[in-house]
């Protein structure tokens, strides 16, 4: 097949079989999955040519081929998955390395809102406001790099943002073209690299409290608010002792690694919230929960004899199960599904009800 005869990536349609392609491997990753038949490895990544990029999945992939190589692919197929067209490489497919060949790749970035970000669309353009900026120095391949990190939020959610080299400005509203979406510790994050463009912009939307129905939650989104009745509370909720040196949770009052270090108090509670559209597991520590229990941070110390395991548990049981709450936080993905890390929790109030009522009524306008 000559160069001109290969279909171009921008022309690929779903549902095609026995396709031949020539493309550059833009990215290549692998993942292990466990099922009834045992452990399997599959490969995924992005293919690109001068017309655009497309995601691919491969059940087998030559070990000698790496990201950056140009390859010819024979007998692959295309199929739509999660509304995205993908190239599939199976046992019948041949992936042939074209050594020494170069190929220019046109990067195409999907314009997305934070709530719609997934790792299946890894390169995106997005608009939002930067907040919580911090920086640290890192070393990569012997070279010192400045890492800036913080959050990016729009009207649908909030996501962790990291930038290697390019400074992030607190409060700036930006358009980011070509940021990479990845998942780390069950949470999504966006990375700005040297090819990403960060442009100041005026946002065409307002950023306010993002109230979601539980049924509409479909990924590890940050910075959202849910409401609902707490319908139970986990048995392991209660007072926690931690080492003041390493923050490790202690089963007895002495840290095995720092026996001389005093312990400090922490709090942990987990419960299910039901909002009538679904339910969500929520977990919280002392920062969001202490105000709910009416305990000041400075009172929550081992020297305060009025704090006890039983007393804390009784307070949690009195103040949480059966009550309706407004809960702000970040969703985290784990093996058992999505759960929410609570940043803020407050009892249902009249003001929220007014806002919520207007929101629900808008459905009938």
């Amino acid at each position: 097949m000559s160069e001109e005869e290969f279909p171009q990536i921008s022309d690929l349609e779903p549902g095609k079989q026995n396709l031949g392609l020539k493309a550059k491997i833009v990215s290549l990753q692998q993942r292990k999955i466990k099922n009834d038949k045992g452990e399997t490895v599959y490969f995924y990544g992005i293919l690109g040519d001068r017309t655009g990029t497309v995601s691919f999945t491969a059940w087998a992939f030559p070990a000698t081929i790496q990201a950056g190589d140009v390859v010819e692919i024979k007998n692959c197929s295309t199929k739509e998955y999660n509304n995205v067209n993908r190239v599939y490489i199976d046992a019948r497919t041949e992936v042939i390395l074209r050594p020494g060949e170069e190929m220019e790749v046109k990067r195409t970035f999907k314009e997305l809102k934070i709530k719609d970000l997934t790792t299946s669309n890894p390169y995106v353009s997005i608009e939002g406001r930067i907040s919580g900026v911090r920086e640290k120095e890192m070393e990569r391949n012997g070279e010192k790099l400045q890492l800036f990190y913080g959050d990016l939020e729009d009207d649908t959610g909030k996501i962790r943002l990291s930038s290697f080299g390019k400074p992030l400005k607190e409060g700036e509203t930006v358009r980011i073209e070509g940021a990479k979406v990845s998942e780390y510790n069950g949470r999504l994050r966006l990375t700005i690299n040297d090819k990403t463009r960060v442009l100041p912009t005026k946002l065409p939307f307002e950023i306010t409290e993002r109230i979601l129905n539980i049924v509409d939650i479909n990924g590890p989104l940050g910075g959202i608010t849910v409401q609902g009745f707490a319908v139970n509370m986990g048995q392991k909720s209660g007072l926690v002792m931690r080492c003041s040196e390493c923050n490790q949770k202690l089963d007895d009052l002495r840290c095995p690694d720092h026996p001389e270090a005093p312990f400090v108090y922490d709090l942990f509670a987990y419960f299910t919230v039901d909002d009538g559209t679904g339910h969500l597991q929520c977990t919280g520590g002392k920062f969001p929960l202490l105000p709910l229990l009416g305990i000041k941070a400075e009172e929550f110390v081992p020297s305060n004899k009025s704090i006890s395991r039983r007393g804390i548990l009784t307070l949690l049981e009195e103040r949480i199960p059966g009550r309706p709450f407004i809960i702000g936080g970040d969703l985290v993905k784990s093996q058992v599904g999505l759960s929410m890390r609570i940043r803020e929790i407050r009892p249902m109030d009249e003001e929220f009800l007014k806002k919520f009522s207007r929101m629900l009524e808008a459905d009938f306008q």
Partner: protein, 273 residues
């Protein structure tokens, strides 16, 4: 092993439960209780409801309670056994006129005439007016959306959940609408809609329910002619004359029984206490 899916808890008005006549039997292998299919198409095994405690009858082994919302009554029972003890403790801690939130398993008992529903509480706690208002907002919204979806489906020649989802209804709302049309093609949801819309008709209905209750209780008290209890057929005839439907009569007899005002002395014979 896959984690077990948690049973969805429906936020529904008492009237939607009361008007249910369809049980969806589970297959024999599951050996679990049947789903109750309501007139708005909800497929229920668990509910989360709120209301005011209007009756409580606590015995050593069992506590029965009636909780009323704007549309009717929920009946709660908790036993003092390995499975229900926590529920019984929670019910025992509640008092008459308390506003409560109850989440529990919905069970059914069927005789020749109708199906009776009961909630076995998993959690039952006293709540404040704001919590009550919040539940009402949510339950009303859900009921109205379902009624709108049923109407939209009713206008189509071949309704499907896909078609409804294209119109903006959620998967759950769309499936409920199709189920409702299939199981309750002639059901009129006007009463539920009145409650969900906060219409004054709802409170009028409450007042009229209370009048009907008095009338039936008086009839049972005054018409036990042979000392063997007032006959159901006679109660029904008197109620029909007073424009009370058979469904309402059954509901009121059930309420009066739960309230401890009457008891069924033998099949279809009632005595006042």
């Amino acid at each position: 092993m896959m984690p077990r899916r948690r049973e969805f808890a429906y936020w529904v008005f008492a009237r939607e439960i009361r008007d249910s006549t369809v049980l969806e039997e589970s297959n024999e292998e599951e050996r679990s209780k049947p789903y109750i299919v309501t007139p708005l198409g909800s497929r229920i095994r668990r509910v989360l409801v709120t209301g005011r405690v209007t009756q409580k009858n606590s015995e050593e082994n069992m506590t029965r309670m009636t909780v009323a919302d704007a549309s009717g009554n929920f009946y709660l029972t908790a036993f003092s056994n390995d499975f229900g003890n926590q529920g019984k403790i929670m019910l025992d801690a509640l008092e008459l006129n308390d506003s409560v939130m109850v989440m529990g398993r919905l069970t059914s008992f069927q005789n020749e005439e109708r199906i009776y529903f009961n909630i076995n509480p998993e959690i039952a706690v006293k709540i404040d007016e704001i919590a009550l208002k919040y539940w009402n907002l949510r339950a009303s919204h859900a009921a109205r959306r379902k009624i709108f979806a049923i109407r939209a489906a009713g206008k189509s020649d071949s309704p499907s959940s896909e078609e409804l989802m294209k119109m903006g209804y959620s998967e759950e709302e769309s499936e409920c609408a199709i189920r409702a049309l299939k199981n309750y093609p002639d059901y009129n949801p006007a009463d539920i809609e009145a409650v969900a819309s906060g219409s004054p008709a709802a409170s009028v209905q409450q007042q009229s329910d209370s009048g009907s209750k008095e009338l039936i209780l008086d009839y049972v008290r005054n018409n036990d002619e042979d000392g063997r209890g007032c006959r159901y057929e006679d109660i029904l005839a008197a109620a029909t004359n007073a424009q009370i439907s058979q469904g309402e009569v059954d509901e009121i007899l059930n309420t009066l029984g739960s309230d401890g005002e009457i008891f069924e002395v033998s099949l279809k014979r009632y005595k006042a206490i």
